[in-house]
Structures are given as C-alpha cells and as structure tokens.
C-alpha cells in the first residue's frame, strides 16, 4: 500500500502538470516496485488514469483552462483509434514501429522547443 501510494503521488503530479495520463511513470514503477508483468502494468495503469484524469480535469476546469469542445473533437476519434490500435497489436510485430514512434516523439519535442 505504501508503494502504491508513492506511485500515486508521482503519477498525480505528472498527470496534471503535463496533461498526460501518467502511464509513463505508473507502468515502470509497477514493474520495478511491485513486480508487475508489463501487460498487466499497462492495463492497470490505464484504469488508474481514469481517476487521475478526472481529478486533473476538474482542477484545470475550475481554473478555466479546459477547452471542452476541442477535448471532444480529439477524444472521441481517439476511442476509435484505440480499438484500431488494440486490433493491430494482435497482428503485427511492433518493434520497428516502436522505434519509428520513438523517433517521432523526439522530433515533436524538438519542434516544441523551437516553436
């Protein structure tokens, strides 16, 4: 429970500070601190994110930072995308894809810093 609490504290801060779910910190911590299998860690992290994101959204909403229309515009198509991604995962070897995606993330990071 203490370990779960530690994971939760870091995840909440990361999530609301950067606008992400927090999986980037939850997944590796579940694996290293609680000996989770990678797939179960990912799935459990996604479930934890429901609660963290609701609290983060409420706090940001109270501060007037949330654009509700644009959230729907991007969030609803993402639900379709998720279904697609899960179907693809079962069919393809994802290693080359992972490297390509990692390279894309670095490119976006550079673009963000330069803009």
């Amino acid at each position: 429970m203490i370990r779960l609490g530690g994971i939760a504290l870091v995840a909440g801060l990361f999530s609301a500070l950067f606008g992400v779910g927090g999986g980037i910190v939850i997944v590796p911590l579940l694996i290293t601190l609680l000996a989770y299998d990678a797939r179960i860690a990912t799935a459990t992290s996604l479930a934890a994110i429901i609660f963290t994101s609701i609290v983060g959204t409420a706090a940001h909403g109270a501060l007037g930072n949330v654009d509700w229309t644009k959230a729907l515009l991007i969030g609803i198509p993402a639900m379709a995308g998720l279904t697609l991604g899960l179907a693809l995962k079962a069919r393809i070897s994802s290693q080359a894809l992972t490297y390509a995606f990692a390279a894309l993330l670095v490119a976006v990071a550079v673009r963000l810093v330069l803009s």
Binding site: I7, A8, G19, H60, I74, G81, L82, L86, L105
Partner: protein, 125 residues
Amino acid sequence: MTLEAVAVIVLGVAAGAVAGLFGVGGGIIFVPTLTLVLGLGQLEAEATSLLAIIPVALLGSWRQTKAGQVRWRDAIAIGLMSAGTAVAGALIADAAPERALRIGFAALLVLTAVQLVHRARRAAS
C-alpha cells in the same frame, strides 16, 4: 469542416491507436496536436488533453478488463491516492510560465521515447 478539424480528427485516431499499440496514454499526442495544430497555449492544451484522456482510458480499461489484464484494487488505490498531487500539479501548471511548461513537456516526450525503446529492446532479448 475546416482543414484543422480534419487534421485533429485524424490525429485523435492516431493518438488512440498509439495508446492501444504501445500502452502509452493519448496525452503525449493530444497535447502537441492541440498546440501545434489547433493553436492552443501549452497550459490549455494540457488541461484539454486530460479531459480527452478520460473516454480513452474508460474504453481501454473496459477492453483490458475483459481480457483479464486489469488489477482493479491497485488501479483504484493509485487513482484515488493521486488526487492530491493531481490538484497540486494543476495549480503548478497554472502558475508556471508557458515556456517552462513547453520545455518540460518536450523533456517528457524524450523520456517516453527512451522508455519505449528500452522496453522494446528488453522484450526482444
């Protein structure tokens, strides 16, 4: 429908697909899409991304629960105990300079990339 709206829908689908494929949340795609394509500020993009994550996380956990992959007790414990720092994170983001938030987010993207490559290499070996 404007070109931006089409781009956002396409990137929304891509964000969801990435979430399903790599198990990373949609947020790392949502935030840059909202800033670079829709012109939101970094703070508004992050706040809006959090809201957009909720339906994706709901659908994803429902699917993963059916596959028997979710440990709900731990998930609920983490979720509930993260509430305090989530509020703190929102307050810090709200007070932080735009530039600092943007650079912090860029660092998070690089960290995510490193972690994905590390995970893929470990899975391969």
